[in-house]
Each structure stands twice: as C-alpha cells, then as structure tokens.
Assembly symmetry: C2
Homo-oligomer: 700 residues x 2
C-alpha cells in the first residue's frame, strides 16, 4: 500500500491540540509548525479559539473542509467518537497517538476493535494507536512528538516501539544522520510493519529501509514482499522477542532442534534482510548503504596513519572472511614515488604519523584506481601533526571524483577529530568509531551484495502421487490420530518418490524367520508399537542379523524385555526389514512455524545430530541451490564429501530428497512436523533409502 | 618492577624542549606545565635561554642537579650521546619519545641496541623509544604529547601503539573517563608490557589495568604475573596481530588444529585476562570494573521506561546465558503498591513512559534489596515527560546508599539524555549506548568473577620413569632424528603410566599369523614404516581381523598395494597388535608455542576430529579441574557422558591421561609436538589404551 496521505497531506487536523507546554497535543502542534510544514494546519480543541497564530476549531466538522490527515491526541475513551466524526466528514487517514488500547489488556483491546471497525467501514487507514507519529522530512512534515525534524536523508525508518524511535531520532540528530520518512506503527491496529515496508519500498526518497520490530503479523506475505523489496532497497531490521513456536513442545527431532529464533533467521536469510543487533550497528550499516555505492567485488584496502589501527583492521578483515586486497604493482609504484620512503605501500597503506591531508588524498586517489580494490577504508588517529578537518575534506573530494567504489572512514578519537567527522558526515562518507565496526559493515554489505546476485529461484515440481497422500492423511484426521504410523509414513514417502526398505510385520518368531529368508540376510528387526517413538532407547532395534537363529533370538529378547520396560505399550509385533546398503545416515526434517510455515531441516543422522546440533534450516519451498546450501551450511558437510580416503556420498541425491520433502510439506499444510531419520545415502549414483520416518498431522 | 621514578619524579628534564608550537618538544613541555606538575621542570635546548617562564639549559650537566626523569625528544642519531650524558650524571629513568629506531629497519635496530647497552651499563630504565610518553594523573604528570591531562580515575593504561593511545585519550576525555596512569611502551627496548602491567599492579591508584598489545615478549613470566595480578585487579587487553606459531607447518593433528590465536586464547583464559575486541568494548568493561563492586551472584534485574529496550535487554541476557532474576514476592508487592497500576512489576520492571525520577528511585531502591538480584541495569529512553538529569541523580543517590551491588545504566539517545549521562559519569555509574553493550559487560564481569573464585591450582605429579624417556629422547637427538618411532613412542607413554596395546612386528605373513595366535583374535594389522605418518590414508590399517587366513590376506594386500602408492617408503614390515576393547576414541595432544610453551589439546578421535575441529586447548601444566574443563569445552562431550541409552566412558581416566601427558611435555621441553591418537576409553573403571602416538623432538 501507499502511505502517501500520511507522508504528504495537503492539510492536517490535530484533534487534542493544546497550548500547554509538556502536553503531547502541544508538542505535536509545535513540531508541525516548527518543521515548516507548508500545508494547512487545523488545531481542534473545544476549549480554545486560537493556539499561537493558528485558529482553533471546536470539532472536525467546524473546520469546514476535509483535512487530508487527522492526528488524534485525546484520551482513549473518546477516540471512537472522533473516529465517527472522521467517518462522517470523509477523512481517509488518521494517526492515533493516544495510548491505552490493546497494550493495557482486555478493556483496551475492545476499544481498539471498535476503532478498527469504524475505520474499516469508512475506508479510513489508521496508524497507531499508541504510537509516536509520522515524520516525512522531504515534505517538512513532523506529525510526531519525537523531537525536532531530523536532517533530510535517504533512510526510511519504521518502529514498533515509540520510545525507541524517540531515542533513535535523538541519536541521529546528534550524529547528523538523515532520514526520508519515519513511521511509528504502535499497536498496528491497521497499518502494520508490512504496509510500512511496502510504502517505504515505493517511496522515491527512500534508499534504505530500517526498522525495529517485535512481531511480524502476516508471515507469508511479509517474506514475499520483503524479498521483492530487498532486491532494490536493503532492509535493515532489529528484531527482539521470540516466536511462540520455540516454546511449543515438539515431537520430532526437527521440532526440538528449531530454536525460537530459527524461523526469523530463515526469513531474514531468504528475504535478504540484514539483521542488526543494536541501534549502533543499524546506523553503521545504514550510513554506508544510504550514502555509498555497493562494491563490485570483495577486495578491501586500508589507508592509515598508524600501525596499530591498521593491524586491528587487517585482523578484522581476516576474521570476517573478507579479502584483504593485494595491490597492483602500478599502485605500489605510484604510492612509493609519491609518499616518504618509510611509508608502507603494501596494504594496509601507512601514510605515517606525520601525514597531512595531501598524503591521504594521494593514497586514496591512487588506491581507488586499483583494479584489485573494491572498497577503501580510511583510518586516522589524531597525532601531533594530524589535520583531521583538511583530511576529511580531501577524502570527500576524492570520493566524489571517483564515486564508483565505496569509501568508509574511521577517525579514531573525539574532540581532536570532531570537526573532521562532521565534514565526513556532511560529505556522505560513513564514519565509524572503530576499525572493527567499519569492517563489520563491509562484511554485511558483501553478504547483501552476494544475496542480491543469487541465482533466480526456481522451485522444481516433481511428479508425485498426491491423491494417495491426501487420502491417507484424511483417514488419519478422521480417526483423530495425530501421528502417522510407520507403515503409512513410508507409503507417503514412496508417493513422493522416496525409496524405503522392504519388509513386513511378524507376530511370531517363525514368521519373522520366514520374512527374513525371503528378504535375504542381513536383516533388521524393529519393535512394532504405536506407543514407542524412540525404539532404540528401549532396545527395540537390532541391526545386521545374519541367520535364522539370530532372528529368533532377537525376536524373543524384544518380546521378553520391552514389555518389562514399558508395561503400557501396545506391542503389535516386530518389523523385519531388509538391511540397508552401507552409507552415511542423514536426517531430513520439517517443522511448521505458525507464522512462516514449513522450515526445512538438514543434519547428519544418528545420535550425533542431537549432541552436535549440527543442523541447518531453510524456509520451504526450497530450490535445488538452497537445498545444496543447506548441506554446505553444516559443519559435517565435509564428511559427506568424503574425507581421508573415504568415498563421498551422492550430494545431489540428498538435495533432491530435501526438495521432494519440501514439495510434500508445501502441498500438505496438515503436516505439522516430520523427520526422515535416517536417510541412508551411498556413493554417487546410488539411491538413498528412507529407513524411518515420523509424520504428525493436524486438521487445518 | 616499579615505575615509581616515571610516575612520580621530583624533577623532570626535557631534552629537545622547543618554543615552536607544533613541535613535539613544545607539546611535551606545554603539557607538563599545563597539567600543573609540582616538581621542577628543566627544559634542555642549547639554542634557547628561556622557554616561556622556564630557564632553559644547554645540556643536562648544565642543570647542576640530577633530574629524576629525563624525557628525550631529539633526532634519533644523537640520542646515544644524550644517553651517555644521562649515564655520566647518574640519571636512572629516561623516556625516549623519538622515533626512527627498530621500527625503521636494520640501521634503527643497531641504534636502539646502542641505547640499550648504555642504559644497561649505567642502570638506567628506559621507556620507548618511539612512544607517546607517560601520564600519571594523581601526580599531575603529563610527560606525553597525547593531549590534555585526563581526569583522575582508577584505570591504568598501557599501549604498544602511541597513535592508538592518543585516540584513546581523546575519546576518554570526551566521555569524562578517568585514568590513574598511562604508559606508552613504544618499541619496548627496555620497559615492556610485563613491566608496565606489574607496575600498574603495584600502583595503589590503579584498580583496573587496560591495554593494547601487538606482541608479548616473555611468555612464561607474562602468564605467571598476569595470573597473579588478575586475582586482585582485572586486566583488560586488546590484542592484535598473530603469533608466528600459527604460520609454522605442523606435523601433528594438534599442531595443525592450533590456530594462530590459540596460544593467546589459552594465555588469556589461564591468566583471567579479559580480551576486548575494540576500544569501545574496553571502555565499556573498564568503566564498570573501575567504578562498581563485583556482583555476588548471577541474577540480573532490568528497570525500564519503555517496552522495546526492555525486551532487547531480556533477549541479550538470555543469549549471553546470564540469569534473568526472578523477583522475590516482597519486591513485587512493594513495587505494585508504589507504582501506577499499568506498570510491570515483574523483571524487566517497566516504570512506564511517563516515569519521572521518583519512580526510578523507588524501583531501583526496592530492587537492590531483592536477594535474587545481584546486578541492576537501568534503561531510559527520552519520552515526552522524561527527566533524564533528575533520574540520573536519583540513580547515583540510590547506588551510593546501597553500594554492594553493581548498577549499570543505559540512557538511550543523545542530546535529550546528555545531561543525565554526564551526571551518571560523574557519579561513577557506568553508562552504555545500548542494552546489548551493557549486557555484554555484565557477562564479561560474571566470567571474571567465576575465574577469580576458581579452585586453587594444584598440579598433580605422577610417579614416572623419567630416566627412561630421557635416554630415549637423547638417543634420537644424537641420531638427528626428529620423529620418534612408533615403538619408542609407546615406550615413552608407558614410562608415563599409559597402557598401550600388546603386539610386535612381523616381516612375513606366517610370522604375523604366529603373533596373532599368541595375542588372541581379533587383532589389528598396521603397516610399519618410518616414512608413513597417516597409515589409514594408504590402506595401511586393517582392524578386526578374526582368523589366520584373514591375517595372511591383510598382510599380503598391504605388502602388494602400499609400495605401489608410496614407492619411496621404506617398509619394515607389519605391526600385529591386540585389538582394543570397544570404546570411544579420543585424541590427546600437545603443541609447543614458541612464546608460551606447551598447549594441551583434547578432542574426539577419528576422522571427525579433523572435520569438526571440535577440540579444546589449555596451557600446560594442567590441573585435574582444568583437564576436566578441557573435556567439557568440546561440543561432543555429551557423547563421552553417554547419550540415548549408551553407556558413558571414564571421564576421570581421560583427565588423568591429559595430566600425565602434561607432566611429560613439561618435563621434556625437547618434545615439540605430540598426539596420542586414538586413546580408546571404555566405561568407568576400565583402563584407557593409547593405541597410537606421534612424538617429534628437537634439541633445546
């Protein structure tokens, strides 16, 4: 949606405008006037005729025309009445600043519902309630009580916390950081985070979208839209609080391994959203993205006037896995012939402690021409001769002359570099308080650039027997059964193209021997009971059985021992199963997040998976590239590729398994959780066998 | 050593004092005078009679008395001549500011050696050359060109980078952070990091030692002294650059798994040093440690006037593994009866957006009395009614009244909270720019407190056959052989109490069968060659051989295949060995760092150890507690304890193995690297078997 009426209204009415300093109704009116808003302002307050220079109206109708935007700052109880008035005169956009709604409990919730109802019926869009307001610097609109209108800039900001936004505004003003728009979404009764992000996505004045969120309402749409918008405008979010999915008891490995943050991590990764851990990190990243071009490659060069910070930057570049640029010979020759002899012309380039602006200017200019350099970080420490202001001017000048590569600066210190930092900021050169912060920013941008240039997402659709799965699941749901039995789980897997081991149930030892003889040795015996989820925990799995006598022994031992351990388990017999080819065991899984839908999981199988928690997640449906990336994201990936003379396994076959599973859980929203554990994978060209599976379903 | 002459001299001569602004000799003289130094100042410069109000001397002798401290700021070339003068008149402490020594190459190195020689002969202690100088706020001594004398405080700082120190000073001045002493150690020609740390350790004005280092000279002494000092004064270090040990080619697993940072991580852990990644983090930690008491327990309470930052703090507390305090009922009752109804009286305590100082004062006072609370973090965001200055005053007041628990503050924002932040700083309440930074600080302090209360280190000495190992190693070194053979490696292990599997070498298949029959099946066959380090890579290990025929097959296959793969390997036969009891394979190792000596390693054995890099290191000699901690520090520790019905292994037996290995490598500095891989460990009460070992030695 567009929030144009909120960002650029021709007239604004303030219901609850006050002449009493300290009141919010006074703050907002003052902020509106002080910002130099060029449209009409209508204060509404029955107790005043005039506030300052402005005529004051008794109610909205008394204005005599329809204000394009109405700001409400009156007690919560009487908000519905004013909303009725808005509806009556045809207002289409309302900001409700007032608190005392959903956030205070049941009574407030009802009041908020009433407001939403009126708005819906009248086609009014509402921002808030319980919010700080809206700011649009380009239109000199400060419809907020967040303080002075900030400097005009290209960062659009949305916040679910008004208090945090006011702190952010204050910090940004002090650091001279500019914004295009700011939206405080408050209780999100109508306009929510997605509306705000979409509006900022459309806004031509906004280059970077930043925000603070505590919850995300419509998960699916959020992912789709954020992914689309991230492709052209970076989205930087602070996200606090956790999804309730994490707290829910889980019956599958996948469920128990998915932490409360897993879904958000998947969403952010998929949608290319840059997660920020603090306001400072968000400012750090936003500054560079808003004011500098994206780098074309990975090479980073550092220019410094002191060894220490240069080493700190080099350490950070190495730790972050970035490329410390190897300078071209020509660059080093030029530097050597123009800098004093003791200067270091290798990266990090040391222009020496007595460097003035000219050496920085020369070094930056030469280094920006180097084909191996994609990003330049300029460090300065205040030493006896250092000219921080002139150096800043030189950096701004050169960066403007050669605007195709990002230039970042880190002037260390405070008062001695203050003037220089101001010049850098005015000149749109991002400034960092430590080499580490600057390098972190370069790393985050490199990841974003990689995300933007990822291959087009193509989700493959396999030919499957959907009808069969449909019938099977419906049968379970009719019987009010949540856990699909082992037999039927295998049928489901087979319908989606997985191969499962042959076998059947035996209720006597001799029947087990007969089955084993038909399958051929070695075989596996597994206890067969709907009440036993972790069979091996109770001695209910015996592998590698090689003879009839061993089958009898294993059968009798299970029948003798397990009822002793689990007297209430209903034991139906023993499953006699073909022993798998040798191979590696992996686990494929799915855990459905209530907001964002199915999360795919991959990990090494066996007991190690639980101990190491070496698993990776991705939002379904997944592409072939994403499936392979899931494998590569585990620490144990190398084992699948083959180590120390051992042959590797068929990576593509596992990736295909993940895609088939992804298709299954996408097509059947009834499936809440499932594991294929283990999937036994052999060398390239062999077919993986889905040995065991657990599927739980729910009516949706 | 004490640096008393540097910190508190009765008189100071400045050789190279200048009347020309911009010159370092001018800056230092001005700084000395401006700081209000109360001793005598003697400017020395043959070209002037007077500088400012001070009489100027032609040379040191002309002063007519012996200055207690001499600062040298003349060109490098003539420094030795001035040092000779210092020696002649009996000066005992010299700061050489001048650059152009070791740091510029061979010529400078020679000049520096000359200076050191003069100093040693005359018993002069030297700080520098190539340094920023020394500051002692308590004595109003500013013998530096780092700018204004900082505020008096309890942080002592040492830096290997003068430029960085000048940036740090500038930042500290802007944030009103106080120091006791600052030492710029420069090229460390004489006084080094250890001297400085020891001096700050002894200094009664210093409560916290902070510093920036690029290298550590005397590793052993550094560890010992730092560990001793950390017990009473926290040491906070930024360390950049890497040890050369990391770059060295390694022949053992342990060597190849020890990264360039491993030794420093071990040293910092052992000595309780708090590592800081940036100046900001260092200031964050130092502020709290210098100004607040250490917490008595893990419980953290948060007080806030806005939900968002409260959630951010709660998230960070959970992520850092800290304890989010559960408030006592009494506390919540008191809060509820004194705060407005909508306030949240659970942790995080929300005093609401319109809170003035009184609500903060009440909440802080009540919460500090709660027995479940050990640390309090106070958050404030600037909202319409917020009184940041009054609130800061209230916090300072309550914290002074109840001084036994640490109180930290995070006033978010800039100009609107500026005054409040100043009051907090003056009142010694540490202030953070984000909830995350504050929580990180709480975490670092919790770790330090845990370190301080660790059990006394007692290194157990086992009865061993030291003589035997001595002879064996000497025999190898005489033969100029670096790699100890498998047979002798086992002898060494046995001499130190390890049990190794029985077996012997066979040169024919029939001999192998005979040995196998004597040992009893199953047996293991291993190729026997001094040239093959990774036997399994070339098919040189065959496990679980159960019959005479299998012995013959395995023997012949190795003899046929391996010479084809490694035509140059000298193959001496096959080692026939008892097959171990079943158990888990672990690796115990040692890698000798050139600066810090033997680093012990523990990890799970097998190919997994290389893939997962799931290993832990510790500085030898280790105690029983440390050995157990090494085990617990691996991700796979749970597997050793037993998972999903599997029995665990004898943890104590592994820990004893680590201690025995630690004793071996401590007693024999000739051992450069070694692995016991695998050590096969069975259930509690069984003896681990050291199946294979690799030891390399060097003449020392």
């Amino acid at each position: 949606m567009s929030l144009e009426r909120f960002f650029n209204p021709e007239s604004v009415a303030i219901v609850g405008a006050s002449r009493q300093p300290g009141k919010v109704g006074y703050e907002i009116l003052t902020n509106m006037v002080d910002a130099g808003y060029e449209g009409k302002i209508f204060p509404v307050n029955p107790k005043a005729d005039k506030i300052g220079q402005l005529k004051c109206y008794g109610d909205l109708e008394a204005i005599g025309e329809v204000p394009e935007l109405v700001i409400i700052v009156i007690p919560a109880k009487i908000v519905p009445a004013v909303m009725d008035q808005c509806a009556a005169i045809g207002v289409k956009a309302v900001i409700i600043i007032t608190a005392g709604f959903k956030e205070i409990g049941e009574q407030g919730r009802q009041l908020e519902q009433k407001v939403v109802q009126i708005a819906k019926q009248a086609g009014i869009r509402v921002i808030g309630p319980n919010c700080l307001g809206v700011v649009a610097t380009t239109n000199k609109l400060n419809a907020s009580f967040g303080g002075d209108l900030p400097r005009e800039g290209t960062i659009g900001y949305l916040s679910q916390s008004g208090a945090l936004l006011s702190a952010i505004l204050d910090m940004a003003n002090a650091d001279d950081i500019g914004f295009s728009k700011l939206v405080s979404i408050g209780n999100k009764a109508d306009v929510d985070e997605l509306d705000a992000i979409e509006a900022l996505g459309q806004d031509p004045d906004t280059k970077v979208i930043a925000g603070y969120l505590e919850s995300i309402a419509n998960g699916g749409a959020f992912v789709r839209q954020a992914e689309r918008i991230s492709q052209t405008k970076p989205i930087l979010l602070m996200k606090s609080g956790s999804t309730e999915a994490g707290a829910k008891a889980a019956s599958s490995h996948t469920g128990s391994l998915a932490g409360s943050e897993t879904a958000y991590e998947c969403v952010f990764e998929r949608a290319g959203i840059i997660r920020c851990d603090s306001i400072k990190a968000q400012f750090d990243f936003a500054q560079a993205l808003a004011n500098q071009p994206l780098p074309k490659g990975p090479g980073v060069a550092v220019i410094t006037n002191a060894g220490g910070p240069g080493i700190m930057a080099a350490d950070a570049i190495e730790q972050q896995g970035l490329v410390f640029a190897k300078l071209a010979d020509e660059t080093m020759t030029k530097l050597a012939s123009n800098l004093p002899a003791p200067a270091n012309v290798h990266n990090p380039i040391d222009v020496l402690g007595d460097a003035l602006a000219d050496r920085y200017e020369l070094a930056l200019s030469v280094v920006l021409d180097d084909p191996n350099v994609d990003t330049v970080l300029v460090l300065l420490t205040p030493q006896a001769m250092t000219a921080s202001a002139a150096t800043a001017e030189a950096i701004v000048k050169v960066a403007n002359q050669k605007p195709n590569k990002p230039v970042l600066a880190c002037f260390l210190g405070a008062r001695k570099v203050d003037e220089g930092i101001k010049i850098l900021r005015k000149g749109n050169i991002p400034q960092y308080d430590s080499p580490e912060s600057a390098v972190n920013t370069i790393k985050v941008i490199a990841d974003y650039v990689r995300w933007r240039s990822r291959p087009k997402r193509v989700v493959k659709l396999f030919a499957v027997n959907r009808r069969k799965v449909q019938n099977l699941i419906e049968r379970y749901l009719r019987a009010q059964s949540r856990e699909i039995g082992e037999m039927e789980s295998k049928e489901i897997l087979e319908a989606y193209g997985f191969v499962t081991p042959k076998g059947s149930i035996a209720t006597t030892a001799e029947q087990a021997v007969n089955t084993a003889e038909q399958l051929g040795y070695p075989v596996v015996l597994k206890i067969w009971s709907p009440d036993i989820l972790h069979k091996s925990d109770v001695g209910g799995v015996k592998l590698g059985i090689g003879s009839a006598q061993e089958v009898r022994d294993a059968f009798d031992l299970m029948m003798y021992r397990i009822p002793g351990k689990l007297p209430n388990a209903n034991i139906l017999g023993v499953f006699v199963q073909q022993m798998c080819q040798k191979g590696k065991e992996v686990i494929l899984g799915m855990h459905r997040d209530p907001h964002f839908g199915p999360l795919m999981m991959f990990g090494m199988g066996g007991t190690m998976v639980e101990v190491l928690k070496d698993v990776s997640f991705y939002l379904a449906p997944i592409t072939s590239d994403e499936a392979k990336q899931m494998l590569a994201n585990t620490r144990t990936y190398k084992i699948l590729q083959g180590v120390r003379g051992e042959e590797g396994v068929d990576i593509d076959a596992i990736a295909e398994g993940l895609q088939r599973l992804s298709q299954l859980v996408t097509e059947f929203p009834q499936i809440q959780e499932m594991d294929i554990n283990p999937l036994v994978v052999g060398p390239e060209g062999t077919t993986p066998i889905a040995v065991d599976a657990r599927i739980s379903v729910e009516q949706v």
